[in-house]
Amino acid sequence: MRLLLSVCAVLGLAFSAGARAPEQVADAVILSDGLPRLLSDYHFFRDASGWQPNERVTPYRLNMPLFSDYAEKYRFLYVPEGEQAKAGGDGLLDLPVGSALIKSFGYEMDGKVRLLETRVLLHRADGWLALPYVWNEAQTEAVLKVAGARIPVTFTDPSGKQRSIDYGVPNKNQCKECHALSGEVTPIGPKARNLTRDGQLAEFARLGLIDREPAVDYRVPLWGEASAPLNDRARGYLDVNCAHCHNINGSASNSGLFLTYEESMPVRIGVNKRPVAAGRGSGTHAFDIAPGDPDGSIMIYRLNSLEPGISMPEVGRTVVHAEGVALLREWIAEMVKKN
């Protein structure tokens, strides 16, 4: 019986794929219950090299991006025809079943960007699914790597320093580690408060991707927006880089350290908070944040480390984000010291 059903599903998939113009995004592939082997199976891009988004695949940028080893990142949102995301408040856009988020990662090498991987987040009938696809050397095809990969790359960071790293493509479970809320996969990036730049929300509404332009009360500053209040910049950085795990329903819920933009209790964001299970991650310090003392704060110690078991975030970082650390150091230094 089960076998029959899956045969039907495969046939149905074949029919629908055949019936549609090949250049359209393959809704049936997004919605299938399999693990598509090739990125090109989805038709998210018109070209084989993953640069030209297909119809209804809309590029977007975040105010504050997650730090990913200085990789260049390209984000796209797909909402199927006849569907619309619901927008409301500052939080996540409520994307309908059939939607997809697509994010390519690469580095500039020899004057042009070479893609390493493209991660897709698919909204299927039974929930979201996160899958990583790794690009081939010729940049003509990206193949599913459920177990992730390490790719040696050399690039130049914003300070002009050349770096060689083993770039980490997360495995399917690691995708979920960050994207889990109460154990279910969920998008992280497309929160209204982090999408306010360049009139994007108005544009999304105009294109009909969202039902209305949400009124955002408390936006996240742009990365590098020096005129924004220091507290907003620091809290925005923590929200984007840490809060997907460090929230009460996230992978780091047991830590009691909650770094969401909405959190208002000082001890929960780490102020004079003792570690729970940090082990050597404590760096011999007593508090996550020791006000006025960045060097005595576990948060800074862990962001400055590259050692597994110490470094934070646990996934997706093999170099120190010097600029991010500098921002948080400044923020902690300006906090009123406890007497």
Partner: protein, 397 residues
Amino acid sequence: MIRTLLVATALCLSAPALAKTVTVDPGSDAQERLQEALILAEPGDVVQLGAGRFDLVDGLSLDVDHVTIRGAGMDQTVLNFAGQLGAGEGLLVTSDHVVLRDFAIEDSKGDGIKSKGADDIVYYKIRVEWTRGPHAENGAYAIYPVESKNVLVDSCTAIGSSDAGIYVGQSENIIVRNNVAKFNVAGIEIENSIGADVYNNIAVNNTGGILVFDLPNIPKQGGRNVRVFDNIVVDNNTPNFAPEGNIVAQVPTGMGVMVMSHYDVEVFGNRLAENGTGNILIVSYTQEQNDPNYNPKPIGVRIFENDHGRAGYKPAFPGGDQLKAAFGGAIPPIIEDGTGEKILIGDDVPVLSMGLTKPGQPLTEARPALVAGASEPFDGRQLKPVTLPQAMEDAVR
């Protein structure tokens, strides 16, 4: 007969029809082959690990319900993480009804095996070890179930953790039995949990043998109903090597069983000896905290029928040496700080109270004195035994 039928039906419903065994052997690309097997496993599957040493370069993880990972034995199948480049632990389990058995994790960079939000988890004949022995840069926890309901840790070995060898945190309904914990800072620790039976374990050569703690500013609080019984807790005198900042860094070297700020703990029938500071310590949480929902005191601790050997001959806390001299070479084997409520002690040994009156009070204000225990032996068993779902018990038969 009807009963058999019912059981058979239940099995059919819970076990998927096409359960299979996937074998992964050591060798090149072990990381990718093993991780892929764990990702592609389906409910009911067994991932069988061959004998030998797997050299892993990243953390591993399992997120599929009803999967068994089984090796050829805790000394035969070794997952070695000395070359680990990322992740906070060797193996992370985030799914329910998982059985881990008969393999070892060595030298992971962070924790050994962490299972988070993983209900009905079984650890059986697992060894987690940092092979260089006690070291501040070893991972924190060897076996680390957290935020889980129904936890069984049975016949495992934990060696060298810089925090706790077997640490069960923020969980409910727990059995930790038949294990060996040695050369860890804390051998076995139950923290911020509800309902745990810790028995038939051997905790030896740790800084502290068995700890029962409840800490503030943690999502799950109100730790209660823990029974520590029939364990051998001997010679826990390894100097504390926990990194500063962690609560266990404050555990005095030479500790047998330590209860801190907890509700309803029973400690009975244990063999306790050669613990330089003391066999049993009952204290409040001492550090400054402003958590309005937190109880810093030990309330309802019952100590009885324990067999005490030598203890208190090397008390590792401020003023310990003076006390030792005052008591003629060894302080009493049972120590309480004086702040607890409903502390009942029936063991036939002297009990030292530090005479503190409120949690957080410095030891300099202590007024140490011998206190009277129970006038005669008593049976303090009030808590019900923990029972686990039958499938978990069946998994270790």
